[in-house]
Amino acid sequence: MRKRERMEIVYDILFSVLNRRGKMKPTQLMTKANLSYKMMNEYLDDLVEKSLVSRKKRNQHQYLEITDKGRDFIEKVIKMKRFKETIGI
């Protein structure tokens, strides 16, 4: 199986959260984005620091919520993927 680029993993994380109406539990994300617990936390720390996702607590459960900056990022990556497919890179 091909190793994913860092940007692809970030995209997979954000896209998984966005697909769940912008909110998701970290445990669900682990399976959706196909990441280990350790790797997921490393990525999430980085994404929270860059304000692409935010950590929220509700009813003693932790949730991840995608920010506007995260949505913009996804849109940018979708455009790049479309360009890549179209031009045949």
């Binding site: 190793k3 680029e5 990556v77 790049m80 993927k81 479309r82 360009f83 890549k84 497919e85 179209t86």
Partner: protein, 222 residues
């Protein structure tokens, strides 16, 4: 290449737009590096930049040929005025450089779209490429025949690509390369029939406009 008087300047403008479009595509393809591993985005960038540069060199040559510098001198009280073409001794080398850049850029795209890239053939292919580019650059008919074939090959790749993923972006890209291949055929024919030069440049411009339209749609569409 004989450009009709009324068309002089227009062809430079059309090619300037074309070179800018290619440069934009090249720069944007570098961004793909962020989501794609391997050297393909870099090679795409290089190919587009080389073709773009070749147009810029050609524009430089044509402008110098179309607009000569007027010089005057006085002899025995009589004023003499004449037009000087500074570039005349450089026309052949500049044409050669422009054609080489164009061919190498297109060859690069051709190799990127060709699936069999066995490494043991690479040195031989590079050697053939250098020899072929050198020979073809001196012959206008052979040059345009080669560029037409290369554009056609790229169009065939986009045709296969658009069968896999049927998006309008790919269809526009395919149309653009078909038109660019057609323009090279017209340029080839213009070597025998000079009146075809202007239509060829216009067809080529339409191809570039389609590429620009596709690029804008790709980047702007949500």
């Amino acid at each position: 290449m004989v450009c009709p008087g009324w068309f002089r300047g227009f062809d430079c403008f059309f090619e300037l737009i074309g070179s800018l479009v290619l440069l934009m595509l090249g720069i944007y393809s570098l961004q793909i590096k962020k989501i794609s591993s391997g050297k393909r985005p870099h090679l795409f960038f290089l190919a587009f930049v080389l073709v773009s540069l070749s147009y810029l060199v050609r524009i430089f040559k044509n402008i110098n040929l179309y607009y000569p510098i007027t010089k005057s001198f006085s002899f025995l009280g009589i004023n003499f005025t004449y037009e000087s073409y500074k570039i005349i001794p450089l026309v052949e080398p500049v044409t050669f450089v422009s054609r080489c850049l164009f061919l190498v850029g297109l060859f690069l795209l051709f190799f990127l779209f060709t699936k069999s890239r066995e490494k043991q053939h690479l040195p031989f292919m590079l050697y053939m490429l250098i020899v072929f580019t050198y020979l073809v650059s001196f012959n206008q008919v052979l040059f345009y025949l080669t560029t037409a074939l290369l554009f056609a090959h790229i169009a065939v790749f986009y045709c296969k690509n658009s069968e896999k993923c049927k998006t309008r972006f790919q269809r526009i890209m395919l149309s653009a390369f078909i038109i660019l291949a057609a323009s090279q055929v017209l340029f080839l024919l213009s070597s025998f029939l000079h009146t075809l030069y202007a239509p060829a440049a216009m067809v080529q411009f339409i191809g570039f406009l389609l590429l620009l339209f596709d690029f804008v749609m790709l980047v702007k569409t949500r």
